[in-house]
């Protein structure tokens, strides 16, 4: 049983070894004066040992001659041997078995008498520094014949190497031509069969391709201008490509230019320039990817093209900014004009200004109003004696002089009025149609004299009831500035935060009245206590 298995294995081995010599390439070189052989392997017939093989050689264009064994050619079934091959054995040889045939062109090279190898008869071995280098003198065909093998480097024996093989880590100094010589001796004579390997050793440790630049780049481009994107890489030899990827690759507006320049250590510096001839809207806000694709590395850098503000855009922006800011200024001015009173009052409160401290006057204002006709003009009377003092004195902290209230009856009225007006900082005249009675006429004229001639007092006119005809008033009253005339609008003017009171406070002298607003703990300052009429 064991014996049968061994026999089968042996047969497979022998069969395998034989079949290795099948030659598929159709152009074969041989060296003159060396033994040479060809084995014919026709796929379907290969195992048919008994099949007869016919060998032919073509002479000229059409003439073919059947070959038979002669002085240097031995035909042994599927194998043709040359002991040795000569220059005139050049030619096209065919092997025919049944319907199949195969042809080879044998090119015999004249042997180099001076060296042990022929430069056109080299088998290339590429090795890397530090990696294994294996040279093994094996010839499956002649190995079985009676032989001796030697290995030479550049036709000289290798010092210290007595074997027919080399297995080592490659070094740069290992480069060279290694020749295996099989010495054969048989009945046809003594022959040398040579096989020469050209060993090339490469040092590729430092050669790593590299793409320069950041992974992501945001680049500004100006509309209508040219824009160039640069992509540069170091490549290992010729392996590797630099290419751009972007939308609209057929756009004739975009050119790709390549610049190659060799670097040291067989590295190549490659630049690929993407040039947009005229930047248009559709070129903007797009990604332009440059990829370095090589067997060792694949890297991409991306460019995003964004719009650069041109001079036209900048002037437009400046115009918009100027427009907006002038509009803002105008708005601010309008607001200041409208709310100038509020702003001034706030300003006064904030600074705690007080104009009343050093002028030596006793009253903040002298109130002049129609004192008669209580039955007809009760409201006017109430305003002057109740609402006005309530607001100005109790709420806003001013001190008023109201003739009726503050003067002890019995004195000289004219003198009193004159001196009281002199002691007051403002003259408040509550105007109505009936105002011009004899009693108050003096107050008015005295006040006007003080205000307009001597400029000692400022007059505040309160138009209590709408006055249609001002002819009855002294002409000099018209010289007063319009904003010094306040209109009382009954209920609308009643709350302390109404425009009327604000304007009045504005016309009144600045006075530090810090305790005024805090006097009402509930903050109920909207309505005066006496407002319910």
């Amino acid at each position: 049983m064991h014996l049968r298995v061994l026999v089968v294995i042996f047969l497979i081995f022998v069969e395998g070894n034989n079949s290795e010599e099948c030659v598929e390439r159709s152009f074969i070189t041989a060296l003159e004066g060396e033994p040479f052989h060809l084995k014919c392997c026709l796929s379907a017939r290969r195992h048919h040992k008994n099949k007869t093989f016919t060998w032919t050689k073509r002479y000229g264009r059409n003439s073919t001659m059947k070959l038979s064994s002669n002085e240097n050619i031995i035909i042994n079934g599927s194998v043709i041997e040359f002991w040795p091959i000569k220059m005139n054995d050049n030619g096209i040889y065919s092997c025919i078995a049944g319907n199949e045939n195969k042809s080879w062109t044998i090119s015999v090279t004249k042997k180099n008498r001076h060296g042990c190898f022929h430069p056109n008869h080299l088998i290339t071995i590429e090795a890397d520094v530090g990696k294994s280098l294996s040279i093994n003198c094996i010839d499956d065909y002649y190995q079985k014949k009676d032989h001796r093998i030697s290995l030479f480097k550049n036709c000289s024996p290798i010092p210290g190497n007595y074997r027919s093989s080399i297995l080592k880590n490659a070094e740069l100094k290992d480069e060279g031509n290694y020749t295996c010589i099989f010495f054969l001796s048989n009945k046809y004579g003594s022959f040398n069969v040579t096989k020469t390997f050209r060993v090339k050793v490469k040092d590729n440790i430092s050669r790593v391709p590299k793409l320069f630049g950041n992974m992501t780049n945001y680049v500004e481009a100006e509309l209508g201008k040219k824009k160039t994107l640069n992509c540069t890489a170091i490549l290992d030899g010729t392996d590797g490509r630099l290419y751009w990827d972007y939308m609209e690759e057929n756009d004739t507006n975009i050119n790709i230019n390549k610049i190659n320049s060799s670097d040291s250590n067989a590295m190549t510096r490659v630049s690929s320039l993407l040039e947009i001839k005229i930047v248009k809207e559709e070129n903007l806000n797009m990604w332009y990817n440059c990829t370095l694709s090589s067997p060792s590395i694949t890297e991409t850098i991306a460019y995003f093209l964004k719009k650069k503000e041109g001079p036209a855009d900048i002037s437009r922006h400046i115009f918009i900014i100027a427009l907006v800011s002038s509009a803002a200024v105008i708005f601010l001015v309008i607001m200041c004009v409208i709310y100038r009173v509020d702003i001034l009052l706030c300003y006064r409160d904030f600074l705690r200004r007080d104009e009343t401290l050093l002028d030596g006057k006793e009253y903040d204002a002298f109130v002049s109003y129609l004192k008669d006709c209580q039955s007809e003009n009760g409201e006017e009377h109430k305003f002057a004696l109740e609402i006005l003092p309530e607001a100005l004195e109790k709420h806003f902290g001013y001190k008023l002089c109201i003739f009726e209230r503050d003067i002890i009856p019995g004195g000289a009225i004219v003198d009193d009025i004159h001196s009281l007006i002199n002691k007051s900082r403002r003259l408040i005249i509550v105007l109505s149609e009936n105002y011009m009675s004899s009693k108050v006429k003096y107050e008015l004229e005295s006040g006007l004299h003080e205000a307009l001639v001597e400029r000692k007092i400022k007059i505040i006119l309160i138009e209590f009831t709408p006055i249609r005809d001002f002819t009855f008033l002294p002409q000099s009253l018209k010289l007063l500035k319009s904003h010094r005339i306040l209109k009382w609008k009954a209920d609308k003017s009643l709350p302390y935060n109404s425009r009327f009171w604000k304007n009045l406070r504005y016309l009144m002298p600045a006075k530090n009245t810090k305790n005024v607003f805090s006097s009402d703990p509930l903050g109920n300052e909207l309505l005066p206590v006496v407002s319910k009429f």
Binding site: E24, T29, T109, D239, S296, T298, T300, K306, K307
Partner: protein
């Protein structure tokens, strides 16, 4: 401003309007798929004529539409057996770069053939390099990878991951054949190739 807008998450997001489970696969449907870009391989301008060698320094040669073998050849033999030993490596650029995408073409008897690995079997199919392959994987596209520290290359199929071009000895004929091999260990020796420029010498001509 443009930066902020572009980096806005919503800009790059896709609104999904339907999700469906069909035959064990979850399908999403986008609300507006106009913005979706499919992956494309586009042929680059230049290609390279190459000689491919296996780890035993044997040279690859196409012999028939379904076979390419490795044989020991001298430089003169490589040139003499051209164009079957001259493999044109064409690079393709990808819309989503994943590697060095290549297709391999060879000429034989005035016909050109492209190497395909359809069905995990290698075949040289008649034709030239397609200018554009509208898919993210293809039987014609291989990723050429350099093995670290070596001058050796591997060719991984874009269609079948972990499947590499490899050299395998055919037990029947004893030929070293080019096959597609699934490998777990990436640096499997049989998947290593040396890729060199094919330099045709004008002064040496076959008979």
């Amino acid at each position: 401003m443009a930066l902020e807008r572009h980096c806005d998450r919503d800009d790059n997001a896709i609104n999904l309007i339907a999700v469906e489970l069909r035959e064990g696969t979850l399908y999403f449907k986008a609300e507006d798929d106009d913005d979706l870009e499919s992956d494309v391989f586009t042929k680059c301008e230049d290609s390279k004529d190459s000689v491919l060698r296996n780890q035993k320094h044997q040279v690859l040669m196409m012999t028939s539409e379904d076979t390419a073998v490795f044989e020991t050849m001298t430089q003169v033999e490589i040139e003499g057996n051209a164009p079957q030993t001259k493999f044109v490596i064409q690079t393709y650029k990808e819309s989503t770069p994943r590697g060095y995408a290549v297709a391999i073409m060879v000429r034989n008897k005035n016909e050109t053939y492209i190497l395909s690995c359809q069905g995990k079997a290698l075949k040289f199919q008649k034709g030239t390099f397609p200018p554009c392959i509208d898919s993210d994987v293809s039987d014609l596209i291989f990723y050429q990878k350099k093995v670290k520290g070596h001058e050796k290359m591997q060719f991984e199929s874009s269609l079948y991951q972990k499947c590499f071009l490899a050299c395998e000895k055919e037990s029947k004929s004893g030929h070293f054949k080019l096959v597609l091999k699934e490998v777990c260990q990436e640096e499997d020796g049989v998947t290593l190739f040396t890729v060199k420029n094919f330099l045709e010498k004008k002064d040496i001509k076959p008979l």
